[in-house]
Every structure is written in structure tokens, then in C-alpha cells.
Symmetry: D2
Subunit: 341 residues, 4 copies
């Protein structure tokens, strides 16, 4: 087979591990040829690619980023790609395309698949919010980084007798906040799925200080928001790059808590440190397994599917399943977390 | 309810997280009382215990070891405990006992349960070889530590143009070798489940050096062994503490490879660093969830069961399921791993 | 001797290691008694203290924060303390007080010393800006945390073809920015000691992109500021807790670079993660040595002095030396750093 | 200038940081040309080298190992090199050679320098035993790795009520044992400089258990040995690669302690994990500064010297100073360490 591989969307620890695994399995397991498109679908459209052999992927397993580069593609150009799916396959002699990416990428993959291109997707998101798979690679690294930060912040919070509000990633789903909050032993967790009432947080902090504790940590997803009419908070503005820029919820919430409690409350916005760098062992393994199974699926003709973790198995699920709706934090997981605040 | 909790068997990152979670859920969720027995079943027999409240478990989430202590109990004394199960419950006013431990502990738990004691188990092993659950806490930490070691060893192996043989834990199951080997990008993995032929390893190393690579890393479980008649290796002796002490497989294999290859091969025996210290975020979360669900199970009367991870859910499975046989590495996982050597 | 020890000022990794070392050296080396005042000088004034023996300091070597607590003391109450220095010594039977703290604490120590109290200081600051000593403990940990963050940010910056502006601690001295910038391989470093011209940063980034590089990282101390008339930037407001709260230099600079370059530039404000948590090996050793030498100095009657690292030796220097002026980053260190941008 | 650079001897975190710094400073600071010899002096003799520019050293700052490779050179071939020092310089058009290496390499550097080659050395050793400099890069990383291991081992030792004997690197000098022992809070430290008496260790452990402690950790340098007639221990054998292979002191000492104490004592041999992988921030900075100053020294004609850290300054010292004798652990450092056991 001749396999094309590309990475699209934001940075995510484990991308290189997938690329390496695809190449190893394809080359040593099946004598396939592999080419890698640069900068995601842009490279596919513009003819920028390079052959990938064992040496091309040597030493990249533990490296952050993606050796293939990544770029966002406008929806119009994607339609253009779908319109000439056959021509693209012919041009590169592709038997299958393996795009590695998040919801946007998998939606694009589905468009190309529907247009007739043989596609096997590999889901990627540090947010863990892609449906159809128990977990995605990158998420464990993000949680690990956020947890280490909370570990460090706690001693400072305690020394300074303060409330710390740690804002982590998660615009639409609160998985990182949930898990880093649990692992870091946060005393409050706010996720987009469940609007919070600042009064509850005030109650929790007050109760802790009454018990003689000298600090509290709240872990808040960037997409979390207060329940209606419980708190004023600002609105962001869209900058010329199309990104919302605003006084985030972390900062806003810290001020609100400070105002209500009469105690120092400080925001810490973890930001991009959560999404880059060396992947954890867990993410390297999951990424490697996804790469392996994507190649196997290609050889079995399971096009229009993506790799998915179910328990200990890697299965193939229809791309359609993955992009229909977002996998959000269910109530029972929040209940578990709240019991150890 | 009045809940007794104890930890038994070897050290395992996450034990304290379970204890903390049990106490939090019991005390804040159900107004239960919790007592902790010291040094495992020994404390249960000898009446050494202490009450556990929120303050007793404050700050222990990320700490290695167990605040309750642990000890092995001889089988005879265990039978003694089972024989007076009712008396023990009466003595401490126990409504349920939550033992946290590995195969031996769960077997003991089953004996006590069969003898009429209300028991809910929590499985623990860094080896990941307990049946009935996808994963156990402690395993992710062990794999992480071993992977970091392999990461470091690779640059040295390359600088010195050497073969490194890294021996990791796993007497009966090769999970740590499998996952640390995959995550660390080892070029050979030897597990107890599949006797290896040194000739294959020699072939792999030779092929790598032919391709211009200057080093190779083999990850070997302590319980791995060569296929019959493929290699001489020594036998251990039992010391007065009952532990087998021998020139391990790592050292033996390194010598064998050196002899056959005419290249330097060095063993590194990771040993106990894999089983202690701060748990990873993953293990803290799993341990916390297990503690939570153990308390819920107790309240639902699901005695004779233990907590188990199935996909993203925590379920209860009969203790009998867990201790009947060992969960070993299946062939398909080895096949995946081997493709990226 | 009867030794009092206290920690004052902000959190700093290594505080517990000093306390532990003071107690060990005093108790096992000299049969001294040690008492620890709670919450810094506040405990000294209010009579809140506890005896410290080997068991009190067991297991704290690697723990962040301070087991004694810390608090800021208003200048007026400090004068009050100085005025009754003799009475305080008599009250607690103190032969020497060992305050561990930053510039403010050492200034207070000097006041008490001048007022007749036998004092031996131990300098502490993550900012490394105390004069008279090569280094202070806490600094290595801060640099390590900031460097790990930059390591992670680089892969994301590269994947997204972005400029990252990392704001690190350092209000008056740029040591953390200098060293984390060097260790992280930043392409620009801005410190308070040397007002920067955004035009230079724009030039550096442009040059990199011209060379085919796809990202740049600028490491900026929170106290850095542009040279006069080179850039507009906002002014902070003082909140009711007396802290300046403003759109920091990191955010401001990122916007300015984005505006001038027409490329995405993102700020990451590391904040308090730099000052808490487990100390590095280096900081534990330096802190332990400082504690040891403080006790020895007390026994030699070297009052009015503080411990200081000079090369590989720990010496005693007059408190006056330490607090006269700030140790700032010299030009030659900046020159070294700039050559590897 | 035309500068040659090479790395020789064993792996050491920071080698790549020196190479990168030499190239950056030479190319951007002085418009020099730089060539890198492969596999140390072997490449110099055999004409294997490549030009190094900014792109050649991009991304290597934090990478372990050496991009130039390393190899040991027999003494005879070194004499051969010295004999034709002029011819070698002429052959490559070298204005200066910058060898980066340990005692052997610096001795070779001195021979070449004496033979008329313009040489500026950069000292390298994880053992920290090169004379004339406060510290060498690589040492901080080794201490950090060993300390993290001791941190992990302590919880296991405590859970199992055991003595752990951790063997760290240091054949002739005990710096790693001293510092990792201090940072890890070991209860006994054995270094080559001071033959130990097992009876003292037995006393220390006994005293701890009497105080109610449940474990003890001894940190022992691989080159440590018991004082005459205090303990039997084996002798190693020299294998065909010229390396001593024996039941090391860690294993021997653990058995001896177990025999005398009647308690379990386990050896952990850290081995090569101490000398490879990502360098700490400290080592990256020191390595970068050494590279910078080596280039400056070359331009000032300070041949026959090497870079050295003195307090906060990097100075140049004669190569002769560095290789005359080994820098060993002085008594006062051991005394400091022993007080916190």
C-alpha cells in the first residue's frame, strides 16, 4: 500500500508517536510505502510531502510537537479538497490517508471519506472530548502537567493562607479540570458542563478555614461559567486572528472569591504548557497503539473509521460517531470528585 | 456504618489516595465512622487501629507508601482470622472491612468474606496482573518510572555504542516490561508469558547496527526466561528471609548478548524505584475512584466484591473472579509492541 | 544553647530543609534545645512556638512550604519587637534566634541584632537577588520549573508557528529570566536591569523566521520594562491588599509583538508555580548546609551575620552586607546569554 | 577563526549544550567557522568531521548524549596525534581545538597543547572530580536522578521496614553519594575518600529503629570500601573489554548489613541512568557558559587552558591544574552531611 499521513490542528503530545508507529507498522509489517504531508491538509492540497522511512521517524517517539507540521485549513479549501478527492489520491498514488487530528480534522476526514477517499482517522485532543473512544492521547500529559502545577501551588497557598484559582484548558468539556482537580486534590472543580454558583465555592472555602485549614485550591476549566445571575463576569473580545481574548474565568473568579471572602485569592492560568512537550508514558503507548491499528485497519479496508480505545482494546469506530457530538463530563464523575473536596 | 480499612502487601503508589478517598466519601457522604488497622491484617488480629477522620488523611493524596503501614501475614494466622470473623467484627463494631491489596490480600479477603465477614476489596498491584479489572493503580507510576529510566539510558547507550538490558519488575506477568518497553522505544521486550530466544535478540541488534544505528535497548521483565535450550542461565537461591536471590535475568541476558555479539552489553536493574514514591496523576485518580466506589458498594451491601475499572467505569466484581487466575499479557499486545521495535 | 528558629516572607522551596538541618545539627551535634516560632516574627511577638526535636522534622526535607508557617509583619510591630529585644530573649530563654527569610526578614534580623538580640540569619529568596551570597536556595527550583515550562512551550510554539512570551518571577532582578531563558533556549530575555527595546525583539524574531525557523520564545521577568519611548504599556492598580494588579508585561509585550509582527504572539504567565513545591536536589543541599552553618555560627558567637555561599564554601557575612543593596544581573551575564539566542 | 570541537569519554548531560554554545558564540559573535570531529579524537585522526552552523545545533540544548559521538582513544594513538599536532592543524586549517571531556580527555588535550596545538579545554564529568573548577556540568543531573530515586525508595523502605543500600556512581570521588545522600536524606553515606566501618552503619540503623523509625537508607559510592579488617568483601574480575565486573559494594554491603542486623536490607544499583538523558537547567546553563568562554578564550589566545567555574564567574585555568590530581570530597563536607543523618 501507499499510505499518506498528516497531522492537523493544535499541538498535542503523542503526535510523533503516532507517525512513528504508522511508519514502523507499515514498513516492517506490510512493506508499505509511507509519505507524510506537511502542515496538515495544506500540504495535501499544495503537494508538499516527503517519504517517511524508519530513519525519518527515528528518535521522535518522546518528542513533543509534530515533525510533519500542522496548520488549520479554512472550510472552503477543505471543500475544494473533498471535491477533488479522487484526483488527490491519484496524484499521490494514495491507497489510504491517515489524518491525525481533533474534531475539526475528523470532520474533514469524514468529508473526504464521504467524497470517496479511503481514509482512516486517528483521534487527537488533549481535551479528551472526542466521542467514541474512552480516551485520547495527549490528555494524560495535560492532566499530568496541570496536576504537577497544583501540587506546587498548594504549598504556596498554604504558606500564604490563600485561595488559589487554577485555570486549566477545556473550552467545551471539563475533563482536564476534573482529573487534574482530583489528582491535585483541589477543593473545588468548575467545568463547562455544570454552571457553578460562586456561593458554593465560598461555602466550601469558609468550611475549610473553619476546620483550621489555611488554604484552598479551586480548579476551573477555561470554559466554565457561573450559573445565571450568580455572578457578574466579563465578556471577551475577538481579536483579528479570530481568537477570543478576555479576562478569563480564572482571573474573574479569583476576584469574585476575594471580594466575597475578604481573603487573598490568586489566579494561575496554566495555558499552553499543558499542550506541549514530552508525552507521558501513557500517551506514548496509546498513540503507538493507535498508529498500529490505523495501519491494520487500512489493510482491512476499514475506511471511514477511526481508532478508539475501549477498555484495554483498540477498536475501529465510524468517523461519524466521533464527530456527531462532544464527549462531556457526566454527572457521576463530578459526584465522585466532589466527595473528596 | 463503621468501616475498617487496611493496606496489606508490598508498597504501591496510590495506597494513601485510596485511604483518603474512603475516609472522605464515608465521612462527608454518609456520616460513617472509619477506623484504620495498622500493618494490614496484623493490626486487625492484634487490635492495633486508629480512628480516621478528614484531618487524619489531610495531605496524603500524593504521598507514597501507606500511612497505615503494611505487613505480610502468614497463612496460618489468616486462617485464624477467618475462623473468628464474626468475633472480629463484633470486637471492632465493624459493618464492613475494606482491605486494599494484591492477589494475596484479595485471597485473604475472600476467605474472610466466605467466613461471613462483610468485605469490600480494593485491588492493588504495580504489576497490573489482577484479573477482572482493566488496570490497577500503581502500575502507571511503575511504567512512568521505568520509561524515564529508558529515556535516560538511550543517550548513554548511543554515546557508548552499547546494548542496554533494562530489567523491570514483573515476576509472573510482563505488563511493565511491555508498556515501559513501548513507551521507552525499546528494541526488544521479554516477558514471562513468552519465553524468548536470545538468537532473535541477537538478530534484532545486528539488524539495527547494520542499518547504521549505534545502540539497542532490551526491556526484560524480571520473570522472563529463555525458551528451553536456547541459553544457559543460573538458578537463584532462597535466602533466610524466603526471598529468591539470584543473578537475575537482566544480568544474565546482558552477558549472553555480549558474548554472542562481541559488543558491550550492560544490565540495568531498576528494582524498587518502580514501586515507591509520588503516584502519577493517573494512579491518584484511579485510587481515588476505587476508594469512593468501595464505600458506595459497602452501603449497597455488595460484599465479597472488589472495585474494578472497566473502560471508563468503576464496577464491582466478585473477589472470586480476581483471584482465580493471573491477568497476563495477551499475544496481540506483544504483536503491537514488536512492530515498532 | 536554646535556639529559636522562624521562617518569614513568601514561600520558597528549601525552607523545611533549613529547619530540619538546624534541628539536627543543634540536637545531635550540640545537645541544644530548639524551639520554632509560628508564622514568623508574629509568633515571636505573640508567644506562639513549639519545641522542635528530631521527630518534629522527620520527613520534611523534600516538602515544599514551611512547617512553621510564615506571615508578613508590619514595620511598626517590628520596631516594637526590636524595642523589647532583651525581654523577648529572656521570655523564651533564647541564646540565639535564627530567622530564615528574604530581604525584609534580614532587615528585620539586622534591627533585632542592632537592638542586642543574638541573631544568625539565613537568606532565602527564589529571586536570587540577596547580596553577599553566590546563590540562595529556592532559586534553582524556580529556574527548573520555568525551564520545564519553556521546554513544553517550544513544541507548541513551533507547531503553531507562534511567538511565545513567557513571564517569570523577578520584580527587581532578572535572575530567573536570565537562567530559565538560557536553560530553555529562549531567543530573547528581558530583565529589569536592562530596559528593552521591542524593536530588537522584532528584529530577532524576523531574523529567525527568515532563517526558516517557525517560532520564537521570549522570556521576560515580571519587572522588565521597555526603554523610554519605545512602547506604550499600561500601569497597574493597587488593590485593597496592597498588591499591584495589572495587565503584566508578558501580556502587554505579547500584544505589542503581535501588532508589530503580524504573527500570533501568546503570553504565558507562570506565576506561583515557580515558588512552591518540592525543592530540587541543589536547593535541598544548599538549604541543609545553610542550616548547619547557622548553628555553628551561633556556637561561635558570630551574631549579626548570615550564611552565604562563596564558591563551594559556606561562609558568614554581616547582615549589613546583605541588605544594603540588591544583587542584580550584571552585564556580562546578559552578554553570555544573548550570544546563544 | 576556524574552530574544531570534539567530545570524548563517557556520556554526560550537557555535552550538546556546550557544542551548541560554541557554535553560536563563534558564528554569531565572531564570524568564525566551526567544524565538529566525530567520535572524539578518533575523528580528528581519521579525518571524520563536519561543518557546524546554527542549524546543525538547533534543538540540541536539552538533548542528552552528544551529536558528535564519542569514543575512547588508546594512549598510543594519542601519542601519534601529539606527534603530528602541527600537521593535524594544517590539515584541517584549525586555529584552535576545543575538546570537551573528562580527566583522560584533558590529559590528552594537555599533550596536544604541549606539542604545539592551540587547545582550549572544556571539563566534563558527572563525578565532579576534576580539579580547578567548583563544579562540572553533568554532576547536577546525576545528583538529581539519584535523589529522585532515593525519594522513591524511602516510601518502599518504610512500608517494608527495610534497610535500602543505594549504590551511586563515583569510582574515585564520592561527590554524587555525598550530594544525593544529603538531598535524599540518607541516613548513612559512604564515599571512597573515607573507608567506612560497617559497625557504624549498624549502629546508626539500630539507633533509628530504637527511635521508632521503620527504615533506613544508606547511599554508597561505587568506589567506597570498608576500612581494613572491618568486613569481608569480594574482588572484581576484569572482563575482556577491560571493565571490572564484580558484585559491587552496594550488594555486598546490603548482605553484610542484613547479616548483622537480622533485618532485610536491599541493594539498588542506580547505574547508567545517572549519566544520560535531559540535563537539568543548572547543567544546561553551566555547559552553555563553558562553551561561550571557551570561544572567548580562543580569541584571546588563552591556549593550554580550560574553562572553570569559580563562584559565579567562569575563568580560565591551566590544563595542568586540572589533571594533576583528583578533586575529592573534603572532610568538612562529610561532617556537614553526617550531622543530618
Amino acid at each position: 500500500m501507499r499510505i499518506g499521513v498528516l497531522t492537523a490542528g493544535g499541538d498535542c503530545p503523542g503526535l510523533n508517536a503516532v507517525i512513528r508507529s504508522v511508519v514502523h507498522r507499515a514498513v516492517t509489517g506490510h512493506m508499505d510505502e509511507v509519505i507524510g504531508f506537511e502542515d496538515g491538509f495544506v500540504g495535501l492540497l499544495e503537494g508538499r510531502y516527503r517519504p517517511l522511512d524508519l530513519n525519518s521517524v527515528s528518535g521522535i517517539l518522546a518528542r513533543g510537537g509534530t515533525v510533519l507540521g500542522s496548520a488549520r485549513l479554512e472550510r472552503d479549501r477543505l471543500r475544494e479538497a473533498a471535491a477533488k478527492a479522487d484526483a488527490l489520491c491519484a496524484r499521490y498514488g494514495l491507497d489510504v490517508l491517515i489524518p491525525i487530528g481533533g474534531e475539526g480534522t475528523l470532520t474533514a476526514a469524514r468529508m473526504l471519506s464521504d467524497a470517496g477517499m479511503p481514509v482512516v482517522g486517528v483521534p487527537k485532543t488533549i481535551d479528551n472530548d472526542i466521542n467514541g473512544t474512552d480516551r485520547t492521547f495527549g490528555f494524560d500529559t495535560a492532566v499530568t502537567v496541570a496536576t504537577e502545577a497544583i501540587d506546587r501551588l498548594k504549598t504556596t497557598a498554604e504558606s500564604h493562607q490563600r485561595v488559589m484559582v487554577v485555570e486549566v484548558m477545556g473550552r467545551h468539556a471539563g475533563w482536564i479540570a476534573l482529573e487534574a482537580g482530583m489528582a491535585g486534590g483541589a477543593h473545588g472543580i468548575c467545568v463547562p458542563e455544570r454552571p457553578f454558583d460562586p456561593t458554593d465555592l465560598v461555602g466550601m472555602v469558609t468550611e475549610r478555614f473553619t476546620r483550621g485549614k489555611k488554604f484552598a485550591v479551586v480548579c476551573v476549566a477555561e470554559g466554565a461559567h457561573p450559573a445565571k445571575d450568580t455572578m457578574d463576569y466579563g465578556v471577551g473580545e475577538i481579536d483579528k486572528f479570530g481568537h477570543e481574548r478576555f479576562q478569563g474565568i480564572g482571573t474573574t473568579l479569583a476576584r469574585e472569591l476575594e471580594r466575597r471572602l475578604g481573603k487573598e485569592a490568586r489566579p494561575v492560568i496554566l495555558g499552553h504548557v499543558q499542550r506541549g512537550g514530552v508525552p507521558t508514558a501513557y500517551d506514548r503507548i496509546l498513540a503507538t497503539r493507535f498508529g498500529w491499528h490505523a495501519v491494520e485497519a487500512a489493510h482491512k479496508g476499514a475506511f471511514g473509521h477511526m481508532t478508539a480505545l475501549h477498555g484495554t482494546r483498540v477498536d475501529m469506530v465510524p468517523l461519524a460517531d466521533a464527530v456527531t457530538y462532544l464527549k462531556t463530563v457526566p454527572d457521576d464523575r463530578m459526584n465522585e470528585a466532589e466527595s473528596v473536596f
